[in-house]
């Protein structure tokens, strides 16, 4: 909104600096951070007062008693901060911004519903059913797929909307055509569930998510810039650079959230947060057509989801035995006796390395 106001002022002789994506990104980033810091304490207290607290839950030998009672739904904080800042600094006439807002509200809404059901039933296992969650994710994913593939409504030039760009290979693309519908449904569901599973320790999901968002921001800036995309040989996607501003807002909010969630946490993301992060991340990656690069940057999420899948589906279901000591992966380390802070920081380090690799693909092809 401020963007539109400032553009109007600019026409009347105001400063032109707010026109630029870089300026607005920086402002959105700082503003998102300040937003979260400002509302953080009162909102956390409010959640606690309303009884929105985590439950005691037993994972075999892993004890969670020490954390029982920490407020959940902290994702609300992040969503409010991120969306608030984006609302101020994004160009609200941009279709990509609309799509991202839709994803944010849709997934944060489902997450809220899930958390609320758990609170109401006083049982962490009685939120939305697995099927209901998966179906809701798939439906949104199909919608995004349609947006990518349908020429009448797609903002992508030519066949860019249905092409998957392969990292490390110059100009290598796979055109899925209408297969993009299935791909995007899968991709969104993957991201949402992976973030949800990773979110099991203080700050374990937040920092890798921030890092992947920054990769998205960089690639969005390149894709939306005629010269840069030409220089780096990426498909040019008009107006996509606005995604950078949005990502910057979410990154700012994420850092603000990290302020509260770093070990020992004062608040948890809850499903509100993990669904919000996963949903927006998946959607943004699809919008800049860099799914595989984002997958690489978020390798932690992939490994966590894969470890759970292997343990439950291959191990328990098929072979009737444990294949990993515990799943998801962070629980395996905890089971070995590693302290939470150590696991979290090590995961951050790996995440940082993956991010660096992902950014490197810009040049290294």
């Amino acid at each position: 909104m401020l963007y539109l106001l400032l553009r109007a002022l600019e026409d009347m002789g105001g400063p032109a600096v707010f026109r630029y994506v870089t300026t607005r990104s920086a402002l959105a980033f700082i503003f998102g951070f300040i937003c979260v810091i400002a509302v953080g304490r009162p909102l956390i207290n409010w959640l606690y007062r309303r009884g929105i607290r985590s439950f005691e839950r037993s994972y075999g030998d892993i004890n969670t008693t020490a954390k029982t009672g920490t407020p959940i739904m902290g994702g609300l904080l992040m969503a409010l901060g991120g969306l608030g800042s984006a609302l101020l600094w994004c160009d609200l006439t941009n279709p990509f911004v609309w799509v991202l807002f839709a994803a944010a509200i849709y997934f944060a809404g489902f997450g809220l519903l899930d958390d609320w059901l758990k609170i109401r039933h006083r049982d962490p296992d009685r939120g939305l059913s697995r099927t209901a969650k998966l179906v809701s994710q798939m439906i949104f994913g199909l919608g995004i797929g349609l947006y990518l593939a349908w020429p009448e409504i797609s903002p992508f030039p030519g066949s860019v909307g249905t092409e998957i760009q392969i990292p490390f290979f110059k100009g290598a693309v796979i055109d899925l055509r209408y297969g993009i519908l299935a791909w995007s449904a899968f991709y969104i569901a993957y991201h949402v569930n992976a973030v949800n599973i990773t979110d099991g320790m203080d700050g374990l999901a937040t920092v890798p998510a921030i890092l992947v968002f920054s990769v998205v921001a960089v690639f969005a800036y390149i894709a939306g810039n005629v010269q840069l995309s030409g220089h780096y040989l990426y498909a040019f996607i008009p107006r996509a650079s606005e995604i950078t501003v949005f990502c910057a807002a979410v990154i700012g909010a994420g850092l603000g959230f990290l302020w509260y969630v770093c070990h020992p946490a004062s608040v948890f993301l809850g499903d509100t947060g993990s669904l919000f992060i996963g949903g927006v991340l998946g959607t943004a990656a699809l919008m800049i057509r860099q799914e595989l690069v984002c997958l690489l940057a978020g390798m932690i999420f992939l490994v966590e989801l894969l470890s759970t899948f292997v343990q439950e589906q291959v191990g328990f279901r098929l072979l009737k035995r444990r294949l990993l000591p515990r799943a998801p992966l962070h629980h395996a380390f905890q089971h070995r006796g590693m302290a939470e802070s150590k696991i979290v920081v090590r995961f951050w380090i790996i995440s940082l390395i993956c991010t660096a690799t992902a950014v490197m693909t810009i040049k290294f092809r």
Binding site: A66, L319, K320, R321, R322, P325, R336, G337, M338, A339
Partner: protein, 656 residues
């Protein structure tokens, strides 16, 4: 306008009888009333309602199957049933609906709830529950019912206040008290005989039939004992797979001793027309724990030996039986399964158990009297009238009946528990967070464990092994040993864990050590770990040569690739090694183990070895000093929680 009543409920006779009783009582109050029964044609109500002179409207319905493809035909049948019920309700416009439970009642209950929501029907719903525990359909129906009449005061606890009313079970008028001597004269039994009357409901119960057949010889050894046996027969058209009680008993007797078939003091019938006389003639009744049978027995003031059907929803038969037992009206015998025979095993009651209990009671006339009187005290005399009062009240023509009886007995803790809850309960008992199991609770627990152990699903089997250990169920030790040797990986693991709970005395000493040795060389790491932990716990009870053999294997396991196994092996070695030889060199190998938990166990092992005199203090100190001390784990402690817990404790103490 004549009153129109719609009755529904059935599947088994137990659900139909109260509906017919209510109809009878209402017909006396409203002579011009019209009745209609809604149910399935081929179940109990299909036979009993027309026989009682009530027109039957057919609907289709099915019992809720477990999650799976069975849900599709279930949905189809229920959907058709609801449509048919909608038609029936709209056509007949009843003034009152009486539902007595069973899935047969589902279409009418659902259709009426729908019509009332649409304001197309104003018919109030009266629900009658026969058992001490709300059935699945009645639990649902209670939500939309205007009044729920219950047969046991204990059921009131399961209902929102004000919705339930205790009326009792309307026993068939043909089964009210009769005269013993006259009945015996009619049946040709001498007046001083001791008569056992055994039956398993109209369709017969395999467990009772077989137990009685097995017990006949011993029981009839007493010259004054007579046995009356209602074997049962399938309802209506006999389908394939239906249980033929009479044929089963005949076959079994022929196998045991063909002379029994013609024994003068043993009388069998496939179907008993004149239950009242048989009841009246008896001194002791052996029956199932369906509400109908039990209440008839109570109405006759007879002592009983009750064999509840196990693993029914909510364990409702066991619940009924336990309430009677707590009141002193019966003895309960739990069905058992032979867990070793796997899925499809037939539940049974050992004949000798039956003989023992029955002879105890037959020999003690005074006790039988006390039990009989206790039984008679459990029923309301005018359940029929009270039920009709409920109906009149809902029609707006009378006060609500009040039978002011409060729930008398607490629930048994084991009733209705799933495997997970059973495990938690036993853990609480073991940690003294819950009072120990009473003998009846234990009996029921063991019978449920049998079911788990015999299950075809590996998750249940594994759970059964664990729970058997927690419950100290020694009789299955042999089975656990077999499971530990040959089953799916996680069952093997839990069988070894179960053996730990049972202790080495449950098996022959060598057999136990063999089982452990095999477990320690299992190819699944968790099984090796459990075997090692079991070895650690059972150390003192193993023979010296077994100990040295196991110590050798454990020393090898100290280099296992899984840290859990290493940890358990180190701990076990500290407890079991009698000489430093295989132990200390093996322990030295893990002094720099990357996982600190293994090294943590190492300290414990050295301390154990020193305390047990295997190592000298100086040697142990040297070893302890050589173990790497760094670790990347620590315990998080939130001091604020200590303050909170302290405050809560002090406040509680003040409260008490």
């Amino acid at each position: 306008m004549p009153r129109r009543f719609l009755l529904t409920g059935g599947g088994t006779g137990g659900h139909v009888t109260p509906a017919l009783a209510a109809a009878g009582a209402l017909a006396e109050r409203y002579p011009d009333a019209e009745f209609r029964y809604v149910g399935l044609g081929d179940k109990a109500e299909g036979v009993m309602a027309p026989r009682a002179g009530l027109p039957l409207s057919r609907v289709s319905s099915r019992g809720l199957p477990p999650l799976g493809p069975g849900l599709i035909p279930f949905g189809w049948h229920l959907g058709c049933g609801v449509l048919a019920a909608l038609g029936i309700l709209l056509r007949h416009k009843p003034d009152l609906i009486i539902a007595t439970g069973g899935y047969v009642a589902a279409p009418v209950v659902l259709a009426n709830a729908l019509l009332r929501r649409l304001r197309l029907s104003r018919a109030p719903l009266l629900v009658h529950e026969q058992n001490s525990h709300l059935g699945r359909l009645n639990r649902l129906a209670a939500g939309v019912a205007d009044l729920v009449a219950v047969s046991f005061p204990e059921t009131l606890r399961e209902l929102p206040t004000g919705k339930g009313v205790y009326v009792g079970y309307p026993v068939r008028s043909s089964c009210q008290t009769g005269d013993r001597d006259e009945a015996r004269r009619n049946l040709g039994i001498p007046a001083d005989a001791r008569v056992i009357f055994a039956f398993g409901g109209s369709q017969g119960a395999r467990t009772i039939n077989r137990a009685v057949a097995d017990a006949v010889t011993d029981l009839l050894a007493q010259p004054e004992t007579w046995i009356l046996h209602g074997c049962g027969q399938p309802f209506g058209k006999s389908r394939n797979g239906a249980y033929h009680g009479f044929a089963d008993v005949e076959a079994r007797l022929r196998e045991l001793d063909p002379a029994l078939l013609e024994h003068p003091r043993y009388r069998r019938e496939a179907f008993i027309d004149d239950m009242a006389t048989w009841y009246a003639a008896s001194d002791l009744v052996i029956c199932r724990a369906g509400a109908g049978s039990l209440m008839e027995v109570c109405a006759q003031a007879r002592p009983s030996l009750v064999i509840p059907k196990a693993n029914l929803p909510g364990d409702h038969q066991v619940r009924n039986a336990r309430l009677l037992e707590r009141a002193g009206a019966c003895r309960v015998l739990y069905e058992r399964l032979d867990p070793a025979s796997g899925p499809g095993a037939v539940p049974f009651v050992p004949g000798e158990r039956l003989v023992g209990l029955a002879q105890d009671l037959l020999g003690d006339a005074e006790r039988r009297d006390v039990m009989g009187r206790a039984a008679a005290g459990l029923i309301t005399t005018d359940a029929r009238g009270l039920l009709a009062d409920c109906a009149t009240h809902l029609l707006g023509e009378g006060d609500r009946p009040t039978a002011a009886v409060a729930p008398r007995y607490p629930d048994d803790r084991v009733l209705g528990l799933g495997a997970g809850a059973m495990e938690r309960l036993l853990q609480d008992v073991a940690h003294e967070a819950a009072p120990p199991l009473e003998s009846a609770e234990r009996e029921l627990m063991l019978s449920k464990i049998d079911g788990l152990l015999g299950s075809s699903g590996w998750v249940d089997r594994a759970r059964g092994c664990r729970i058997a250990g927690l419950a100290g169920y020694r009789e299955v030790a042999g089975l656990l040993r077999d499971r530990a040797a040959d089953d799916l990986p996680m069952v093997r693991r839990d069988a070894l864990k179960g053996l730990r709970g049972l202790g080495p005395r449950a098996l022959a000493p060598d057999a136990f050590a063999d089982a452990l040795a095999r477990g320690l060389s299992d190819n699944y790491y968790e099984a090796r770990m459990e075997a090692a932990l079991t070895t650690a716990v059972c150390n003192g009870l193993l023979a010296p040569d077994a100990r040295s053999r196991l110590a050798g294997i454990l020393a090898r396991l100290c280099r296992d690739h899984s840290f859990e196994v290493r940890m358990a092996a180190v701990r076990a070695l500290g407890r079991i090694a009698d000489t430093p030889e295989p132990a200390v060199p093996a322990l030295r190998k893990v002094h720099f183990d990357p996982v600190w938990k293994v090294r943590g166990a190492l300290y414990e092992a050295y301390a154990e070895l020193t305390e047990r005199g295997v190592l000298s203090a100086a040697e142990a100190n040297e070893e302890i000093d050589a173990v790497l001390i760094t670790a990347n784990g620590y315990l998080t402690e939130y001091q604020i929680r200590h303050h909170r817990n302290e405050a809560v404790r002090r406040v509680r103490r003040r409260e008490a």
